[in-house]
């Protein structure tokens, strides 16, 4: 089943930023409900760039609690701040998704044990201190580092979400096919294979007609083995695309009302 990671509870957005500032749970709850109804599987939770580093842990815990009070969905704890991740995990109900580690050894050695300890899934970015690799081969090699390290810490590949890193098509066009090929390769790294995810809207940064680019890429990536995406769960057209791709890939049984069923799971 394709997993939508609803991107909307993020301090980047003004309403969430204000909600954090005023400790007003309403916008967080509203977006949790709205995204759940739209078919989200995970709720991405991000304190946003404005939050002070010292306060991020507390904000993360509040956001996770507030969102999970409103809906019965697991959260994707999206921050580079390790303390904030751990605070989020402490209050989280059910299996959380940590977003993210890279293939840097120090990060893997900190975050994989944390994931194992809290029985959480974790996103692994196919990059390291040298940056984002260009070729599919280099991306896959870093994915392999992630798989092997996760395995060593006792994390099953099905709890590891490899992100091959999507870059904007207008400025990094040549990365597109490499990223798609990396998605294919990643599915062959282990048995069972790791899951895959992308930050979908990256593909269309600063380009015109973003929805068209997003949904076209989503369908292409799903063909290559994409299992989940951080995306706008309330973009009906985009969710329809995911639902339709699921049907064409024979991942769920067809019925005439499949668009509705896809959102219900």
């Amino acid at each position: 089943m394709f997993e939508i990671i609803g991107e909307r509870i993020n301090g980047l957005f003004y309403d969430i930023r204000d909600a954090i500032a005023n400790k007003d749970p309403k916008p967080v709850r509203d977006w949790a409900v709205k995204q759940a109804e739209a078919g989200a599987f995970w709720l991405d939770i991000n304190t946003g760039p404005v939050a002070k580093k010292s306060e991020q842990a507390e904000i993360m815990a509040w956001l996770v609690k507030t969102a999970q009070e409103a809906v019965d969905l697991p959260c994707c704890i999206d921050t580079t701040n390790w303390d904030a991740i751990e605070e989020g995990l402490k209050v989280h109900k059910g299996k959380a998704l940590i977003n993210s580690t890279t293939a840097e050894q120090a990060k893997m050695d900190a975050l994989f044990p944390m994931a194992a300890n809290y029985n959480a899934a974790i996103v692994g970015l196919a990059m390291n201190e040298k940056g984002v690799p260009k070729s599919a081969e280099d991306r896959t090699a870093l994915a392999m580092e992630l798989v092997a390290n996760a395995d060593a810490y006792g994390i099953s590949p099905v709890d590891l979400y490899i992100d091959p890193l999507v870059l904007p098509v207008n400025v990094a066009q040549e990365h597109g096919p490499e990223c798609l090929e990396a998605l294919r390769q990643v599915k062959l790294l282990s048995n069972p294979s790791p899951k895959t995810t992308v930050g979908l809207s990256n593909i269309s940064q600063k380009a015109p007609n973003r929805p068209l680019i997003n949904k076209t890429f989503l369908a292409m990536a799903m063909v290559c083995g994409l299992d989940s995406a951080v995306m706008d769960a309330c973009d009906d057209d985009l969710v329809d695309t995911a639902a339709t791709a699921t049907i064409i890939l024979n991942q769920s049984i067809y019925c005439d009302s499949y668009l509705k069923i896809f959102r219900q799971k």
Binding site: T140, A141, M144, E145, V147, A148, D151, P157, L188, L189, S190, N191, S193
Partner: protein, 445 residues
Amino acid sequence: MGLTGLEIFKQLPKKNCKECGQPTCLAFAMQLAAGKAGLDACPYVSDAAREALDSASAPPVALVKIGVGEKAFELGNETVMFRHDKRFEHPTGIAIQVSDNMSADEVKAKVDKVNKLVFDRVGQVHEVNMVAVANDSGDAAKFADTVKLVQDNTAYPLLLTSGDAAAMEKALEIAGVNKPVVNAADAGNYEAMVALAKKYEAPLVVKGSDLNSLAETVEKIAALGYKNLILDSGARELSKVIADQTQIRRQALKLFRPFGYPTIAFANNDDAVMESLYASTYVAKYAGIVVVNSAEPEHILPVITLRLNIYTDPQKPIAVESKIYEILDPGKDAPVLITTNFSLSYFCIAGDTEAARMPAYIVPVDTDGISVLTAWAAGKFSPESIADTIKKLGIMDKVNHNKVIIPGGVAVLSGQTAELTGCEVLVGPRESAGINSFFKQQWNQ
């Protein structure tokens, strides 16, 4: 069936010595997985690594040949848990058991019965596959005599059941040339049993007391160099057998080598109906061979029918024979319904005609088992093929009228069909569910 990078990496020495030409063992593993490097480049690989490479090329469930000659059959090479994922490859071998406690006359009578368990299903012959001889007496000479008697009276391959290597040796002196299944090696007797099976190149059943002990014994036998094996987890209770069969298949498909062989299951039950039910369950749940006691046709036919159905290829449409089908004893004035030989199409129209209480003839045109509209689009359901079928089967000689009814979906064929056949062509409803009112309005008017 390649190995994944992670599986190979786990087998590597992890010295990161670079002697293979790759910067790390991990990188080397990925090269191996991609088929861009050979394992020989690493000077420090262990036997485990070689074993891993072996696994990569071998099928998940080994192919095992049973018997020799015309009645020989094959087991294994299965690749799925569920038949709809692809198909089940080799139908379960059904073995009927006789005991060496039975008198010679009893044995002979039962084997004669087994020889007659041959059934005609949808135009094909289906039969049982083996006679099992059980050393219930514990007496080696009696066992050998019974094996000889059975072998002299049947062409089916034999399954020899004895835990006693000395008795098995005597029986094999008689039957070994025909490569019977040797049942069974266990943790206690496996060395002697392997030696016997090796000598006659006969398939060997490995019996465990549970899945763990089974895996251990298989590994010991593999270490002796014998891989012509069939697995028995030792379970006899229905629920336990289902669980074990499922585990064995599942682990085999995950390339757990000790379970990469076909299995045997024992349905033996004093109540013959229960025995049929057990056997049916094991046919559906991965058994390579199922052993039963009853040789009565009424107990065996249902199991054989189920086996036929379970082992059909779900990707291929199922066809009915192209012939005249009579519904409810039709007379000379009964309608003639034309359809295709896709089983689903045929059974729809047959069911609806019967439900309408209308005696009729149904004539399926051979369209390679595809439906009316599919066959029409593919040019297989045409005025020519309809006319040929009507003529070939001589259906119009059975009736005193000159009318045929074609499906409403291909109404467009009516004119040309009438020309070619000389019949009056009536266009039926698009859906066979409408056949009842069609009969009332257009036939019985």
